[in-house]
Symmetry: C2
DNA sequence: GTCCTTCCCTAACAAGTGTTTGGTAGGTTA
DNA sequence: TAACCTACCAAACACTTGTTAGGGAAGGAC
């Protein structure tokens, strides 16, 4: 009774990565639901059925794309958090790191932004919810530390501030294009300047 | 040769409005493509085919939802712009007006945010592109006036600032729920405070 | 009563969906 | 040469999709 053999997930999946990249591109551009496996196959220069040699399902492609992105994101975030910088420096580092991730995983970030809300309800995507909780905890505690240390304003609702900073950073993925006018670091610098000091002239 | 009669679009469409509201709700929650006409019909307590007594197609529902929203949005925006306030007061009024629209058209705004990018390519949704141009012009000129009048900082990229303010405001629709902790005006006030003066303590 | 309009249902349609099955060309190994 | 593995194709599958055609119940107009 020979079980069907699939290519090793753990082994070096050169072609697999290629296909995931093109899939991510199409998902980001057209939306997950509007993307048919035939469109993905078209972009990859093959037929729809051939994708199933590499992947179990369309959904498993999406899962792998998001997992890969979040794994790398948390690599960066954890490094920042373990450095135990001051609140303001932590915020600056987190924002900068976020823009670097947008630079590296533009498509995955766009997909995450658009689809995560509907995906978290599904069992196979619970890891999205876990990531969100961890994310919120990291940011909220940084903001609260800053308020306690009197480097961030205390007259603002912290949760509102959190959503403000979070959204401000990540929506950039919807218009950011690598190789554009500004580098990720330059955008991070200006964003930080706006978030920290505002856009009004100081009087 | 009797042409098929559809209910008058111009006449008072009480039921029509109801159906559009529920459709908008489902579109916003599940995404346009993931929403089937059967789901909409379910939420409205009827069968899928019955929707076609009121509407030509699923797409025409979406169009009417977005058109209605944008019409009301520009009613508010035009009123603000015609008042010819100073740049800072204009920005404050535009932001406040935006949050009021989010309060009134939460579902439509969420749909707009998620789908407009893919819709503008279609002929029947060109009005989205026109609105976007008008929108960008209104905001950019306000920001530029502010820089010239030295009420907004001149060391920031104006286009970046534009996207910053724009996104900052509209993504709120993704988490805002009417009847929550803060009113639309209260959120607008705090957002404006952050955008204008930043979240850092002034030293 | 009859007629007409409004609003919905029943039942089906064709097109498109994700997925499966069996096959096969080409390279590698024995 | 023979056996085998990789990566794909060809063709179909069951199901869901948006949409349509015909019918009928309720109620007001005449």
């Amino acid at each position: 009774m020979p079980t069907k053999k699939k290519p090793q997930v753990t082994a070096a999946p050169a072609r697999r990565r290629e296909l995931l990249d093109t899939a991510a591109e199409v998902f980001a551009e057209q939306g997950y639901n509007a993307t048919t496996v035939r469109k993905i196959a078209d972009h990859a220069g093959m037929l729809a059925g051939s994708l199933y040699y590499h992947f179990d399902s369309k959904e498993s492609m999406l899962e792998e794309i998001l997992r890969t992105f979040l794994d790398e994101l948390w690599d960066g975030y954890d490094t920042v958090l373990e450095a135990e910088l001051g609140p303001r420096e932590t915020l600056e580092a987190l924002v900068t790191e976020s823009f670097r991730e947008i630079d590296r995983h533009r498509a995955a970030v766009a997909i995450y932004q658009k689809e995560s809300k509907q995906l978290v309800a599904q069992d196979r995507f619970v890891f999205l919810a876990e990531s969100q909780r961890k994310f919120e905890k990291a940011w909220l505690s940084t903001l609260e530390r800053g308020v306690a240390a009197e480097v961030f304003r205390s007259d603002l609702d912290v949760r509102l501030t959190y959503r403000f900073v979070r959204d401000t950073v990540w929506v950039a993925a919807s218009w950011y294009r690598p190789g554009g006018h500004h580098s990720a670091e330059e955008i991070a610098r200006q964003y930080l300047s706006m978030v920290l000091d505002g856009i009004a002239v100081r009087t």
